[in-house]
């Protein structure tokens, strides 16, 4: 009889298993394939041949990258979850569920209580690959990361949806000097959260749980995180010995159903499997060597002149760009010659790098050079500025613009692609006119190539050079890294070469920038004098792809990677006064620092505050959202309508009226309730109910309801609702009231007055996915508040149990509307008050325009506070829109909340000191339409448009840069206006 063989070709590894005729495991192997799928499989088959001789085998292939191979070789295929299922039933018949993490897939199999198999969706991000990526970011190996995680003292909240999100949470932690131990543990926790939230979707993982796949086998920290989160003891968390090869064993078992064939035949079939031509390929980057040489020569022209630091005598200016992944330093002479440059990956603490380099500079200068001015910029601007006592800290966008002007005074478009972010500025009339930063989801930036090169077992330089002369670059699409990962997977499946993939990645990054971040319709829209910069453009393949895609020749300075630092140095040179405050050589000699972190207990935000103590006794505090965390008295929020609104909203109860107590009703403070809370509180209190609000939003609250989230791509405000429901259930209210409202209140300034589908029908989803909700404890009538008759009827029916008379309901509604009206009136009044104060004090005003639910500090992450701390008065869309004129827009204006946005924008255009920032929740489909419209209203009247996309991400670093850039641009505009 023939032996059984299972081959599992995953996204990063190949696993082979041989079983005897009696299902005994004879052999297993686990190898990384570095995208050379076919070769790797063949290598392993020859090992098998060596061990067991030729003979007949029943062979079955499984795995995400195995599908294509199986199809083209004619070797039978079994879907990988099915394979796992087969093996589980054989070896662990008493298991209740299994969790499998692979290179890029995550799967859950529920066995008992209704068999169900789930795989991650397209937005769920990688897992194994995600961990690799994070290890790269921390500059340690995965096993090291595992070791470190076991020594963790605390866990930071890290966005768990996809790698890109997590990165933007981790990077600032690193920059703030958080311990790697803690970060490592936090990363594992994020993976667990991701699996629980993204896959379990309303089903609890309980009972005896199997953990399968490579990462779960090799990483103790990850195992621990799973056990802790799921609350499993050793008896219920099973980690099989052969976990990494489990699928291949399953495939081998499954092979029982297929016909045997001689091993040689299987090898032959796989060897001869054709590469399909399904993949789309593009033109080569360069026709030939000569074209490449000409290209290189052209770009050499924009290099800076050098001056020898070892002989130069005189003044010099220091610029430091402490970026998210790299630290850049330059030292220039007054005539802008380059004395010293440095570019280095952060590897954790950027401050160490800066100190070390500064010492080196002083050593090289040997007292000949006086640092006459220093400026810092970038993510770490504040920290570095404080540490070395630099003269200035400037927004990075301003720094980049300064530097660009030096190379091309006519520049009208700057694009900077760095390791973590893409920044684009349009320049009009010599000022930054428009800033575009990549949103959290489109960061297919430089570090992606780096991670990918590593996955291929190569250095980044080597990897990207391969692409230069690729014959058929692969078309990989232009979206987030996760999508690109699966595009690459597909290309590999189809047999694309490493060269073609490398070239394809370069062009993807460029397309991502042009079509996703800038959203240019045609390359001409960018401008006629384009300057490209950022470390990623030092990569010739990316530069070439950019020129090919835009059809334009662009300027790339030789110091493309150092432009931020160069701009900072220029800024210091132009603006420094008497003497520079920067640390002297002597001060530097004994300079040390310590880093500590704690949770601030100043308010409910519970910020993770990081305290860096310098040896001269000064302190630098970061991570805090307000002054409290820094040990200062909080600044007043009298100019922040968001703070007012939130407090005012929750303050709408007066206690049950009438003699008869009818019960306790719970109102979730979520989605539509952020506006209608006073209405329903008023209604129920007038009807004699005690009204209970759900607890205030927080990340903890989100986690509480996470297991009932049905759709992982819905917006964060909707996801939070699940937690609010749980909190009310825990309060033991008699019932939760949450109406479905297709129609919002008609404010008569739009063609229709819909709610968005999520706001309108979320109760249906809650009811369907939370097993604790029943028809008795969850009352969700369909209501159109614009029609009194049907509303009364619907409420009467829904609250039948409480025997409310129609008259009482009518009275209740009247009370409710009165409270809602009062609330809105108060908000309007507060708006007027803030406007008046701002005008009196000459403070600029920002209309932070979103939806009612953006008032929740857990949703807006304290952006209102941030703005007031930057010296700006904050209004909301609902406090001003009625002052703006009605507008007619291109799109169908049919949602109540969105109509307000348009009018608020119109209002902003009519006031010099008012600007508008639009808050958009990630995943909001309707805002894909409103944002363009709001932008065109603002821009048609010469206002800047700024959009801030928010999600669960808690870090305001990027937001702050964005807002500061906007303020700088507004300042600049104002200055120009005044000049004229």
């Amino acid at each position: 009889m023939a032996k059984f063989m299972g081959i599992d070709v995953g996204s990063t590894t190949v696993k082979v298993c041989v079983l005897s005729e009696t299902y005994e495991i004879l052999y297993t192997s686990y190898e990384r394939h570095f995208a050379r799928v076919k070769e790797c499989v063949l290598d392993q088959l020859s090992v098998v041949e060596g061990k067991f001789g030729g003979g007949d085998f029943r062979v079955c292939i499984t795995g995400s990258a195995g599908l294509g191979l199986a199809e083209r070789s004619g070797v039978p295929f079994v879907q990988e979850v099915q394979a796992a299922f087969t093996a589980i039933r054989k070896y662990y018949p008493d298991a209740d569920a299994a969790v499998e993490l692979g290179g890029e897939d995550a799967k859950i199999i529920f066995i008992t209580g209704g068999t169900e198999q789930r795989m991650n969706g397209s937005c769920a991000g990688g897992t194994g690959a995600f961990i690799d990526q994070m290890a790269t970011l921390l500059n340690i190996s995965v096993p090291e990361m595992d070791e470190l995680s076991l020594k963790a003292e605390k866990v930071y909240p890290i966005a768990s949806r996809c790698g890109v999100f997590a990165k933007s949470d981790i990077q600032p932690l690193l920059n703030q000097g958080a311990r790697k131990e803690d970060i490592s543990a936090s990363i594992f926790r994020a993976v667990v959260d991701q699996t629980v939230a993204g896959l379990a979707q309303g089903r609890r993982i309980k009972g005896k749980v199997l953990f399968l796949g490579g990462p779960l086998y090799f990483l103790k920290g990850l195992r621990r995180a799973f056990k802790e989160t799921l609350g499993l003891d050793d008896a219920h968390a099973v980690f099989p010995e052969n976990a990494p090869c489990f699928m291949s064993i399953g495939a081998a078992l499954y092979a029982e159903n297929v016909d045997p064939m001689p091993l040689a035949e299987a090898v032959e079939r796989i060897k001869n499997a054709k590469n399909s031509d399904d993949i789309v390929t593009g033109e080569p980057l360069f026709k030939d060597r000569a074209e490449y040489d000409a290209f290189v020569a052209r770009h050499k022209a924009s290099d800076l002149a050098f001056e020898d630091i070892k002989t130069y005598r005189g003044d010099a200016y220091l610029g430091i760009d402490s970026g998210s992944t790299t630290t850049k330093l330059v030292l220039i002479t007054p005539d802008c010659k380059l004395l010293y440059e440095h570019y280095q990956s952060n590897n954790g603490q950027p401050l160490d790098i800066v100190l070390e380099r500064l010492r080196e500079i002083y050593a090289l200068a040997q007292g000949r050079i006086r640092i006459a001015g220093a400026a810092t910029t970038g993510y770490g601007e504040d920290l570095i500025k404080a540490a070395i006592k630099a003269d200035f800290g400037i927004v990075e966008t301003v720094a980049h613009f300064k530097a660009a002007l030096h190379f091309d005074p006519k520049v009208d478009f700057i694009i900077d692609i760095g390791g973590q972010d893409i920044k684009c500025f349009k320049i009009k009339n010599g000022a930054i006119d428009n800033i575009m930063l990549n949103e959290a989801c489109s960061s297919g930036c430089g570090s992606f190539i780096q991670t990918f090169a590593k996955a291929m077992g190569m250095e980044i330089d080597e990897f990207s050079k391969l692409g230069l002369f690729a014959k058929h670059p692969v078309e990989l699409g232009s979206r987030c890294t996760v999508f690109m990962n699966s595009s690459v997977k597909q290309a590999q499946k189809e047999g694309a070469s490493v060269e073609d993939i490398s070239a394809g990645l370069s062009s993807s990054i460029v397309k991502n920038a042009i079509y996703k971040v800038i959203r240019a319709k045609t390359p001409d829209e960018l401008g006629s004098n384009i300057l490209v910069q950022g470390g990623t453009f030092l990569n010739d393949a990316v530069l070439r792809s950019f020129e090919l895609e835009t059809g334009k020749q662009v300027v790339r300075p030789g110091i493309a990677g150092l432009m931020g630092a160069f701009g900072a140095a220029l800024y210091a040179k132009e603006n420094v006064g008497e003497a520079s405050t920067v640390v002297t050589e002597a001060e530097l000699r004994y300079f040390t620092y310590t880093s500590k972190s704690h949770v601030c207990k100043g308010c409910t935000s519970h910020c993770n505050v990081n305290v860096i103590g310098f040896s001269d006794g000064r302190k630098f505090i970061s991570g805090n959202k307000c002054e409290r965390g820094a040990g200062l008295k909080p600044h007043s929020d009298e100019l922040d309508i968001y703070a007012y609104k939130y407090a005012r909203l929750l303050d709408c109860r007066t206690g049950p009226q009438g003699k008869k107590r009818r019960g306790r009703v719970g109102l979730p403070v979520a989605l539509g309730f952020y506006e209608q809370l006073p209405l329903w509180a008023g209604f129920f209190e007038a009807c004699g109910f005690e009204v209970v609000f759900s607890e205030k939003s927080s990340r903890q609250l989100y986690f509480k309801g996470q297991h009932t989230v049905a759709s992982d791509t819905v917006c964060y405000p909707a996801k939070l609702t699940h937690g609010h429901i749980e909190s009310l259930l825990d309060e033991n209210v008699d019932f939760i009231f949450y109406p479905c409202e297709s129609y919002n209140l008609d404010e008569h300034d739009s063609a229709n007055h819909y709610n968005c589908p999520v706001v309108a029908y979320y109760p249906e989803l809650l009811k369907a996915n939370n097993e604790r909700l029943t028809a008795q404890n969850f009352v969700m009538p369909y209501i159109d508040l614009n029609d009194a008759k049907t509303t009364v009827r619907a409420l009467h029916k829904a609250l039948k149990k409480y025997k409310l008379s129609r008259r009482l309901i009518g009275r209740g509604l009247k009370e409710g509307f009165a409270r809602l009206g009062k609330f809105q009136e108060d908000v309007h009044e507060k708006g007027n008050e803030i406007s008046a104060k701002a005008e009196k004090r000459g403070i600029p005003v920002v209309v932070l325009a979103g939806r009612p639910y953006h008032v929740d500090p857990e949703i807006n992450h304290g952006i209102g506070k941030l703005l007031t701390s930057l010296g700006i008065a904050v209004l909301s869309e609902d406090s001003v829109f009625f002052k703006g004129r009605e507008v007619l827009v291109n799109v169908l204006n049919q949602w109540t909340y969105h109509a307000r946005l348009y009018r608020a924008a119109e209002y902003a255009t009519e006031h010099d000191n008012v600007d508008l920032v639009q808050l958009v929740s990630f995943g909001c489909g309707i805002d894909a339409i409103t944002t363009d419209e709001v932008r065109s209203i603002l821009e048609s009247r010469g206002k800047l448009y700024t959009q801030i996309k928010i999600d669960e991400i808690n870090n305001l670093g990027v937001v702050k840069i964005r807002l500061r850039s906007m303020l700088a641009a507004i300042e600049e505009q104002k200055r120009r206006r005044e000049k004229r």
Binding site: S64, L67, G68, V81, Q82, Q117, M119, S122, Q201, V280, S478, R479, F483, S486, K489, Q490, Y515, R519, A520, K521, T522, A710, S711, T713, V714, S742, H748, D749, N752, P757, V758, Y761, Y762, E764, L765, A768, Y782, D784, L785, N786, D787, K789, T790, A794, F817, F882, K883, R885, E886, V887, L888, L892, Q894, E906, A928, I929, T931, D932, E933, S940
Partner: protein, 435 residues
């Protein structure tokens, strides 16, 4: 209950100007229509041609279509908008059409979903490169009055019956194709039936639906089919990706190639769903308009026709389309019919109805991040699984960059379970036979 908050000043107009579709253009312009339902659209285009319209259904579906879409539409907008826009622009760029005398047409529902905004989105996309191409709205809600497609009662009837015929053909074809013994027999039958329907329209006999449907049934009955039991897979979801091969990466073909029988619910369901929503709104919120009684009449008439077709289909031993009243009752078991944005309650209704007619394997196709589908699609799966023991649903997101590998892999997972369930069922049936 609230007063209008104006401040006495006239509204500000931020609209861009756009080319209108004027009645004279009927004679000067070619109208392009996106590819969505090949059979249905074929019948419709044929009779519109004869009514004097120069109209063409687009079939371009290369990667360039998606790329054009990505370039011209906000990337966070739903995938159908991207596909449709991309298809228009790719076609207009192909040089095959005189862009001075070409218009594009798309349907518009006017619901609370962002799909109602496709028209402005397409206008915006065309503006820079094809400023003279008008965008025509085909709607029954009185939107875009200055650029709508004129639909008289006669055209309306013709359209309605084209949908009935298209649905019947689509369903019969799917029921025969996987089992045909002679390769291509089903396609041939479909082709002949399409010609027969076109001829009926020629003679003005399009209202004689009973004889027409009977002829179809007779024609398809003649196809020799194997009796082998195959896995049946229902396709539900957002209207465009559910039907359009461009939108769903040729899902029907893929299922056929996997040896399954695709079960695609009727387009008429969506039409009736729209009509019923108007009636429901009147009932729920007293939102009556002059059109409401009309909608009720139209609905009753369509239901009458549908039921007669169903009875006829049953006589010939084919699985009929769903009775719409039955669908509504199915919906009630899962969620309220008040969920009316996008495809709303129709999605769970179809999933339940499919399960009740033996198709419990389902692909729920939706554009990535589709808002109504969060609730009516993914949100209802748990409830449905509790209701039907073998319900086996996979929700697939379609997106410009979601790869076929990923989608197919997920569908294959669903199919693996489906095959297992089928085997189990057969085993049980055998066991019962032995007893």
């Amino acid at each position: 209950m609230k007063k209008k908050k104006t401040n006495g000043r006239p509204p500000v107009d931020f609209r861009d100007d756009y080319p209108r579709f004027t009645p004279e253009m009927k004679h000067t312009h070619k109208i392009l229509v996106p590819d969505m339902l090949p059979v249905h659209f074929g019948i419709i285009v044929d009779f519109l041609h004869k009514d004097g319209w120069d109209i063409e259904v687009l079939h371009n579906d290369s990667r360039a279509v998606i790329d054009e879409g990505l370039k011209h539409v906000h990337n966070d907008t739903c995938y159908p908008a991207l596909c449709v826009t991309g298809q228009f622009i790719d076609a207009l760029k192909s040089g095959k059409y005189d862009v001075e005398h070409t218009a594009v047409m798309i349907t518009q529902s006017g619901g609370g979903c962002r799909a109602s905004n496709y028209i402005p989105l397409i206008r915006k996309a065309l503006k820079s490169e094809f400023p003279k191409v008008p965008v025509i709205s085909l709607n029954f809600a009185g939107l875009e009055k200055d650029s709508g497609f004129p639909v008289g009662l006669k055209t309306l009837l013709k359209l309605a019956f084209a949908v009935f015929y298209g649905d019947t053909l689509m369903s019969l074809f799917n029921q025969c194709k996987p089992y045909e013994l002679e390769e291509g027999a089903s396609a041939k039958a479909r082709q002949e039936c399409v010609e027969m329907v076109n001829a009926a329209y020629d003679r003005g006999k399009y209202l004689s639906y009973m004889p027409i449907v009977r002829k179809m049934l007779e024609r398809f009955s003649k196809i020799e089919r194997s009796r082998e039991e195959k896995v049946k897979v229902g396709i539900v979801g957002e209207i465009y990706v559910k039907y359009s091969p461009l939108g769903n990466s040729h899902l029907e073909e893929f299922l056929l190639s996997e040896g399954c029988e695709p079960v695609v619910p009727a387009l008429m369901d969506f039409v009736m769903y729209c009509a019923v929503n108007n009636v429901n709104d009147a009932k729920l919120y007293n939102k009556k308009s002059i059109a409401t009684p009309l909608f009720a009449v139209v609905y009753r008439y369509l239901l009458h026709v549908q039921r007669r077709i169903i009875r006829l289909t049953e006589k010939y031993g084919f699985e009929p389309l769903h009775d719409f009243e039955h669908l509504r009752r199915c919906a009630d078991k899962v969620l309220n019919q008040g969920v009316k944005m996008g495809e709303g309650w129709l999605i769970p209704a179809e999933m339940a109805a499919l399960a009740e007619t033996g198709t419990d394997n389902i692909v729920c196709a939706q554009p990535f991040g589709c808002l109504p589908n969060h609730i009516a699609g993914k949100g209802t799966i748990r409830t449905l699984k509790q209701m039907y023991e073998h319900e086996n649903i996979v929700a697939v997101d379609y997106d410009p960059s979601a790869t076929k590998v990923n989608q197919e892999n997920r569908i294959k997972l669903m199919l693996a379970t489906a095959r297992e369930n089928l085997k189990e069922k057969q085993r049980r049936a055998e066991g019962a036979d032995k007893k």
